[in-house]
Amino acid sequence: MDEKVPRSNIIETEIPMGTVHPAALEPYRVRFFVEDEIVQEAEITIGVNHRGIERIMEGLPVEKANSLTEKICGICSNSHIWNSCRTAEIGLGIEIPERATYIRVIMGELERLHSHFLYLAHGCEVLSHETFSMRVFYLREIVMELLAMIGGNRVQYGCSVLGGVRPRCDVDEAKLLRLKNDMDAVEEGLTGFVERFLADSVVQSRITGIGVLPQKQAIELAVTGPTLRATGVARDLRTTMFEYDNFDFNVITQPDGDVRSNLVMRALESFESIKIIRQAIANIPEGKVVNRDWEMFDTDMNESYIEVPRGTLYHSYALESGRVRHCIIRTPSMANIGAMQYACIGDQITDAQLCIVQCDPCFTCTDRAIEIIRR
């Protein structure tokens, strides 16, 4: 399928949902324009979450600003602080110890695991399949405990600092052993879940061919991350990041761009993450975890792109006597909103929230820079 066209242009009625809705984990407003329960058009209104982080970052000391970026999102908090530190490190030319890079990768991949598990659990919940949802939440709990073990908190760990990682996040032998054992447990649980999930014909009939995002449209809408890879485009920034140079992993793609492709895609990518973590455990070098031997100077705009669980994350700011200036953050969900609106078209209204969820929305990430006009 190249393009989806609505079956008719008649709009019978409009059904608004939100800002609080069981199928959405975050506040946003969506208006569905339907004809005989088939969605003809969808309009997502964001800005409900707007807190103005880039504005309050203006003029903060860079260390403080880094930890503030972590509060952008509670799901991919580590990605934000990692990329924010990376921006300054690129600008100031700070060399990062090898061991710190490895720990960052471990944290990044653990976070990808927890984000993907959340996605699977939430997807099953929107399908109203409580049992699957609970099973994935149970698996996710193992990952959350690991994150708490390394970072000290379940959600916001503050792992990266300029020049490396916080000494608290250093991993010793005992932690590595637990990490290794728990990766086995997660892999076993996930394998069981995926087999069970793919064998369930009722669930499969419910998600196959729903919320299709054709590849052509995905590229036109500049979709990023797993949502793009689920349409068959093998584009993953991890292949170009120097942090991942020593790791061997595959870029997973799925052909169809429907809900099934997306869910399967997340599950398969989780296995790759487990693989990366295992490599990191095996090869982690000795040494210090933070390089404090650097000097602050004024820089022009520094920018950094990394691959986060939901797509491409962009941070950029200039430094002026140790303070952040002109900060710009672009999160993956910003690009994926178009895909969410598009994926709904032509599906039942019961599936509409599922189609939005399939694009892995994170409106808390997205609602920072959009100018809202108060009326």
Partner: protein, 332 residues
């Protein structure tokens, strides 16, 4: 003498109904704790919580002004539902067999239809805060289709329950009429008498097929997952029940458990030939049948996602065909 018998009959009937009602309050808790929670590997609530304690708690809540164009009717609907279910149970007791107009399948279908019509009205009359009434500036300059008609989520739910009336509950009614093919009578007394003579209808081929159809119809009319499109959490949240608060919500909760019980009793009357009487030990069979139905429903609903129209139509069509097959087999 005659007066005494009448009073006795009414007394026994009333006690049977009250006993069934008391047992029925446990059913939602049993479903939640012993089936859903066990399957999901967690402890779950206490058994009395969803069926008994929640309604009592709602009884003690303050009444609120219902957001509805016709608040009086909207508030009356759960009571009508409850009365319809009670009448259904009364019709099933052997004491009511003396009143042919009440204890016939036509009356039973009538009571079930009242229940279904109530869902349509509830959905149409409920105007909850969760969709259109949410104070959010989304119809602004630049927004798409600013002049479109706006619907509440309950309106979709109402339209869906109308659809369920037209074809969704068809399997249940087919299954109800399957025993008629054997007993050649629509009166419950005849159906019961026939089965007590010739053995339960359930253990014939036609009866076994009709029992499957009945079970699917049971899940459809109870709006349990996977057939819960009129109150699916992923779009219409709670559908017709959105606006009920305090006492009315308590009645909604009680009706659900009671309805589960009554449908189980209906099955045991039509397929096993055992009407509920408090004075006989056979009432245990009624309870066991109701429990088996709840267990099966719990297992099915824990392992299936909500169906959309795409899955619902073939399922109902297939079940209807099975029901027709059962009736044809019964007639042969």
């Amino acid at each position: 003498m005659f007066g005494n018998t009448l009073i006795n009959a009414i007394l026994v009937g009333a006690i049977t109904v009250i006993f069934c009602f008391l047992i029925s309050t446990l059913l939602p808790g049993i479903e939640r704790k012993y089936i859903h929670a066990r399957i999901q590997q967690r402890i779950g609530p206490v058994v009395i919580a969803p069926g008994i304690m929640a309604p009592i708690k709602f009884m003690f809540k303050e009444n609120v002004k219902v957001e509805s164009p016709v608040p009086g009717l909207y508030k009356a609907l759960p009571i009508i539902c409850f009365i319809a279910v009670t009448c259904l149970l009364i019709a099933l007791t052997p004491q009511a067999f003396a009143i042919p107009a009440l204890s016939s399948l036509v009356a039973i279908v009538g009571f079930l239809k009242v229940e279904e019509i109530c869902y349509v009205l509830m959905g149409a009359l409920s105007k909850s805060v969760m969709s259109v009434r949410m104070p959010f500036p989304d119809q602004i300059k630049g927004a798409a289709h600013n002049n479109a008609v706006r619907s509440f989520v309950e309106d979709i739910s109402s339209r869906r329950s109308l659809r369920m009336i037209t074809y969704g509950s068809f399997p249940l009614y087919l299954a109800l009429f399957a025993p008629v093919t054997q007993a050649r009578s629509i009166f419950l007394s005849d159906i019961v008498a026939f089965q007590q003579l010739n053995g339960p209808f359930l253990f014939t081929v036609s009866g076994a097929i009709a029992a499957i159809v009945f079970f699917i119809g049971y899940m459809i009319i109870l709006n349990e997952y996977p057939f819960s499109i009129i109150k699916a959490k992923c779009d219409v949240i709670e559908g017709p029940y959105m606006e009920y608060a305090s006492k009315y919500r308590a009645i909604v909760y009680l009706t659900r458990g009671f309805f589960m019980m009554v449908l189980g009793v209906l099955f045991s009357v039509l397929f096993l030939g055992i009407p509920p009487v408090i004075t006989s030990w056979s009432i245990l069979i009624n309870i066991i049948v109701a429990l088996i139905f709840v267990f099966m429903m719990g297992i099915f609903s824990a392992f299936s996602p909500v169906f959309t129209n795409r899955q619902l139509l073939p399922t109902i069509l297939g079940t209807t065909l099975l029901g027709v097959l059962a009736i044809v087999l019964g007639l042969l």
